[in-house]
Structure formats: C-alpha cells, structure tokens
C-alpha cells in the first residue's frame, strides 16, 4: 500500500505541474523610473500616507499614545499635530483597551479612525476589544454593525529592547476571522496600503516592523493606493520559493543574493497581506519551484509560518520535492544581550542553510 501510495504520489504530481495553480507572478514591482521618483524613507512614506488620508477624508483621525506632542514613538506622525490640530491628531492616556475600543465605537458610527498602538507588545491589553468587538460585531449583529477601523502598530525585535518589547505577534491576529492583516515591507506599500485599508469596510491591522522606518529608497512622486489582497513576487526564481513578509523580506532577499553565488535561483515572495493569505501566489510559485522555505520572525511553534506550511501541504503536496522548511525565531523570550538576540532571530545565514537542506 505504501508503495502504491508513493507511486500514486509521483504519478498524481504530473498534472499539477503541467498547469500549476498560477504561473504568473501575482504582482511585480513597477519598473523604476516609470514616473518621477523621489528619495524617501519608510517613515516618511507612512507619514505621507497618513497626511494624505487626513486631507482626503475628514472622517479620518489619528489616535494613540504620543502621536501628537511627542511626534510618535517612532516619529511617524512628527509634524502632523501642527498641521491637523489636537482633535484629529489625538494623544491618548495609557489606556490601550479604552482608546482602541473607542476607535471601534467611532468607526461603528461612521468615522474612519486610524488607531496607533505604539507597539504590538502593548496590543495584548487591547486584544479583547479587537477580537470580541472589532472582528465580531458585524457577524454578531447580523450584518448591521460594520467597523471600518485601521489599527497600526510597530512589531518585531532587533533593537536590544529585551523580552517584553520584542514580540512579533502578528501571527496571532491572522487567526481572527473578521480582520484583515497587512505587513508593508516596501516604501510603496508603506505609502499605499493605508488608504486602501481605510476604504475597507472592515477592520484592518497594519504591522510595521521597527527595523524598516529608516529604510531609504526611491518612490514614485505620485505613488498612491495599492492593492491589499495579493502577495508580490519580489524576486523571480526557479529553484526554491522563499516566503517572507515585513521585517524578514530583506533577509530573504539577502539570502537569495547569497544563494545566487552557489547557482541556486531563489524566488522571493513578499506576503504583504497576512490575512487573508494569497494562496494562489504561494502555491503557484511552489508548483514551479517544488521547494519552499518560510522566513518568519515569530516564534516557531504556532507561527504564521506553520499555517503557510500546512497550506502548502494541503494544496501542493504532490508538487513538493522536499519538505517545506521554516526559519523562525528561537523559542525563547528575546534576550537583551546583542549576540543572544541575534542568535534568537532569523538571520540570512540561517535562511541560506535551510535552503541548502531542501535544494539538491
């Protein structure tokens, strides 16, 4: 039986490969220089997106801890208070549950709040509001109560701020029906995802990895809204699929560069939207490469990477030539010491090593 099973496996595999779920990349970067380009940073792109939204729609306001006078913990909202005033750039007390819930209430009656939770570490104090109200009211009310709310928060480790300030918990939020979860990893997405999210009638969470704010680069002067449905192939390749998002995209791309030296041609997928996942792009790529490695800063057990591995198992099993591998954070509270923190987080060499185990 096992033999026939194995035979069946290779046999059944063919058609799937003849016409993979999806051969075209879901989305490729616009050719640079398509329009006038300006030099900017992820932080500035995010700020431009907020300013833009505030100007377009007076139902929009930004609320959170230190978004006003202080200019935002990561200086994202620097200068916006002067421009829009304290009513619309609203500093809150340290009351995560109350001000996130207040954002939900305001959205319920027609406002378009952008609630900033300083970091994902503190979002646990508002999780009940996010799960039991924001994500649930529409269903519980039989479709009456929509919650067009956007919640932004910084996520991730890497700055030696130790165990309580280094969480990557976006994976938990992707477990919640009723939410859309985004992870902008590029300047274009930092600039463009917010407006699309604000037009979504349902609650959207945006996770900004702390390591990205200072990222510099060129962006089209007229860059605007982008889709928040599909993943993007940031680097096409034929030998293995590297799946990353947010803070791990850069590491995956760096690993792909390194692998190129050894003649391994890696495709790199930027998930962009963590819920709902763009299965078509993931499965389409794996159908072409037959191998996949997922890079996720969350702790390994119960990570978003586990969900992606399970979906590949379910949707592309017969296309796989090797088991899907996960490169995640070690299962330890993130330590302060630089060398220990570095050892706890996914690194380029770890990605390269994982790829080697699945290729050839």
């Amino acid at each position: 039986m096992s033999v026939s099973g194995a035979r069946a496996k290779s046999a059944r595999a063919r058609p799937a490969r003849a016409e993979p779920a999806r051969t075209e990349p879901a989305r490729v970067e616009p050719a640079a220089g398509a329009s006038e380009q300006i030099q900017t940073t992820y932080r500035e792109a995010m700020r431009a997106a907020i300013r833009d939204a505030m100007q377009r729609d007076d139902r929009v306001f930004l609320m959170g801890e230190d978004v006003g006078r202080y200019g935002g913990c990561f200086a994202v909202s620097m200068g916006l208070l002067a421009e829009f005033g304290p009513e619309r750039i609203r500093d809150t007390p340290l009351s995560e549950s109350a001000f996130v819930g207040a954002g939900i209430g305001a959205a319920m009656v027609g406002m378009r709040p952008i609630v900033e939770i300083m970091t994902v570490n503190f979002s646990l104090l508002a999780l009940d509001q996010i799960l039991n109200n924001a994500a649930t009211l529409l269903h519980m009310s039989g479709g009456q109560v929509g919650v067009p709310l956007v919640i932004r928060m910084t996520t991730g480790a890497g700055r030696q701020v130790a165990a309580q300030h280094s969480h990557s918990l976006e994976g938990w939020y992707t477990h919640i029906p009723g939410l859309r979860v985004l992870a902008p990893a590029t300047l274009e997405d930092a600039r463009g995802m917010l407006w699309t999210a604000l037009e979504d009638p349902d609650p959207v969470l945006i996770f900004e990895h702390g390591s990205l704010y200072n990222a510099k680069g060129m962006l089209a002067a007229d860059a605007g809204a982008v889709d928040i449905d599909s993943a993007a192939i940031r680097r096409p390749g034929g030998d293995v699929t590297l799946i990353a998002y947010g803070g791990t995209l850069g590491k995956a791309l760096a690993a792909a560069e390194a692998l190129e030296q050894d003649g391994i041609d890696a495709e790199v997928i930027d998930l962009r939207t963590l819920r709902p996942l763009d299965d078509a792009t993931i499965i389409g790529s794996v159908a072409r490469t037959h191998r996949a490695v997922i890079v996720d800063e969350g702790w390994r057990s119960g990570s978003l990477a586990a969900e992606i591995s399970a979906r590949i198992m379910e949707q592309a099993f017969f296309d796989l030539d090797a088991p899907v591998q996960r490169v995640c954070s070690a299962e330890v509270p993130i330590p302060y010491a630089r060398h220990l923190e570095a050892a706890a987080l996914p690194q380029v060499d770890g990605v390269v090593a994982a790829v080697r185990t699945v290729v050839g």
């Binding site: 549950s97 109350a98 001000f99 406002m111 109200n133 269903h139 519980m140 009310s141 039989g142 009456q144």
Partner: protein, 331 residues
C-alpha cells in the same frame, strides 16, 4: 441644579401608565422566555432583568430616539423599551433569520442600529469603550446626542471601567454611564468585590457628576436620568448614575443561588418596581383594574404572536454560515 424642563404631559397619569406598561412588557416577555427555555425552545445564556425594569424604562424615557444606547448581555429590557420590535427580539431568541441579529447573536447580542441600539455585549465592561468611541464621534461631528451606556456593579472592578471613565471625563464626552447596581456579580456580593461600595463616590473621583438613584422607583430614575441627560446633551460632559436595584431571579436562567438568602430576595421583592408604581397610581386613582387588564391582554396577545411568528420563521441557510464575517466587496 434645576430639574430638566420637559412638557407637562410627561409627568401626567398617561405617562405614568405608559411607564407601567413598559415595565410590564419587559416582565411578561421574560416570563415567557423562562417558559420557552424550560421547554428547550430557546437556548444559550439568557440573563433575566426581572426586578430591574424600572432602570431601563426610566432611563430610556429620558432619552430621545436620536440618542445612542450601548448595553450588556442582560439587555432584553433595554432593547424592548428602545423599540426594537418584539417579533425581531423573540425571533432572535429562537435564532431565526428574522431575528434582530439574524439569529447570529441570541439573547446576549440584540442589535438594532436603526434605533441606535448598539447591542448587547457579553464581555463584562466590553461595551464601555464602544460607548466612549460613539460619544467621541458625536462630539467631533458636533452632534448633540447622548450615549447611554449600561453596565453592572461587577463591571466597575474591571480595568476597562477605569480607563473609560478617565477618557470620557478627560475628553468631556457626552456619555451617560448607567451603572445597574443589583448588588451581585453572579454570586459575588458587591461587598466582596469593591473596596468602595459607594459606586457614585468612586465615579466622582474622575471628576464627573455622579449620584445614586433608587432603581426600584421608575419615576426617580426618569427624573435623575432626565436631569443628567440634559446636562450631558448641553455639553456638560459625562455623568454617572448608580442605579440601585436588584435581580429577583438567578444570574443566568438557573443557578443554585447559594450566595444570597431567600429573606434578602423576599425583602427586595416587596419593593417590586411594577407593584410600587401600580399601587401609587391606584392610590391616586390613576389606575383601574380595567386599565391593568387591558394592558395585560395587549401584552399577552403581542407576546403570544411573537412566539408563533418566531416558531414559523425561517432559519438561516447553513450555506450562509460565513455571511457577515466580512462586508461583501462591491468590486
């Protein structure tokens, strides 16, 4: 502070008769629920308001249809007096698609946005931030609405209560906090849950007007709620009412009630808000047996009809299970 100005008619016999009718409406509706629950026709958690009717009726009659209400899982009374159609409430108890929440919510999650009734919430304290946010939206848009937020004495111990009281007071939001102090949080008496059992004193420490009200006297509730609502509406910032009441039944449909003794319950039943108002009106010659009989008839008929219509109402198609998880995209 002077009592709110309102048309004399509100204070006359007809008005009192209407308040009586509303309280009886809640009472009879829930008595029917008990019957149906025992018969297994409705399920889940069902929290009865019996004994507390004066609070919902008194507060609601101090509000305008344009005001907002945020409630708890013990919200049949709030919903019914707000005007959420009886048939849709009963159908919701049956989990039918004709229910006010399409059968998704049940007893604890009655919603009717057309009446600005923002629902039952089953997480203790979970509705307070919503009320604060709704009031914030109104204030930002210059609307002069009041958001009435109901919650129990037990909710006062939750961190969310504190955060919301502070935020509402700090931002001077138009919220009317209505604390239904029925002296118990499930089986926990207020003395064993609150270091400061004088809840109006606690609320006052946030710098908002707060006072206790006899929650068994519908006229007293209406008077205080009216006074508070007017001030809130005219920009006076949030107010807090501690409505002292009592639940005559178990916490949820049934519980052993080991946590309180029968005498205490009996003592409070002597203060039944319905009997109290009825007797007062009788004494004043404002209520005849005929009046009462016709009210009871009307209610009995309506409730019976709501049951049969709920029974015969269609159930949601299982293929529509995932409806209302996300708003359908136009594109």
């Amino acid at each position: 502070m002077t009592p709110p100005v309102r048309p004399a008619t509100n204070l006359d016999a007809a008005h009192r008769l209407d308040l009586l009718r509303q309280m009886l409406f809640i009472r009879r509706f829930e008595e029917k629920c008990v019957e149906l629950y025992s018969g297994g026709e409705i399920r889940g958690f069902v929290h009865l308001y019996i004994g507390e009717e004066a609070v919902a009726v008194g507060v609601n009659s101090a509000l305008t249809p344009d005001d907002n209400i945020v409630s708890t899982y013990r919200e049949h009374g709030h919903a019914l007096v707000r005007g959420v159609p009886l048939d849709s409430v009963m159908a919701e108890m049956y989990g039918k698609v004709t229910g006010c929440s399409h059968g998704r919510g049940g007893s604890m999650h009655l919603f009717d946005t057309s009446r600005r009734f923002y629902g039952g919430n089953a997480i203790v304290g979970g509705g307070l931030p919503l009320a604060v946010g709704i009031a914030l939206a109104d204030k930002m848009r210059g609307q002069s609405r009041v958001t009435a937020c109901f919650f129990g004495d037990g909710a006062v111990a939750e961190g969310e209560f504190h955060e919301c009281m502070n935020l509402a007071a700090l931002w001077e939001l138009p919220v009317l906090f209505c604390c239904e102090n029925n002296r118990y949080a499930m089986g926990t008496a207020i003395e064993r849950a609150q270091a400061q059992t004088d809840l109006a004193v606690r609320a006052g420490s946030y710098g908002m007007p707060a006072w206790p009200v006899d929650g068994m006297d519908v006229l007293a509730v209406e008077r205080s709620a009216g006074l508070a609502a007017e001030t809130v509406r005219s920009g006076g910032g949030p107010h807090f009412l501690e409505l002292r009441t009592y639940r005559f039944r178990a916490h949820s449909m049934y519980d052993p009630e080991l946590y309180r003794n029968k005498d205490e319950v009996e003592l409070w039943k002597e203060r039944d808000p319905i009997t109290a108002l009825a007797e007062q009106m009788r004494a004043a010659g404002e209520l005849s047996d005929g009046d009462l009989a016709s009210i009871e008839d009307e209610l009995a008929r309506a409730i019976t009809e709501s049951v049969s219509s709920a029974r015969s109402a269609p159930a949601e198609d299982v293929r529509d299970l995932a409806k209302f998880v996300y708003t359908p995209r136009q594109s």
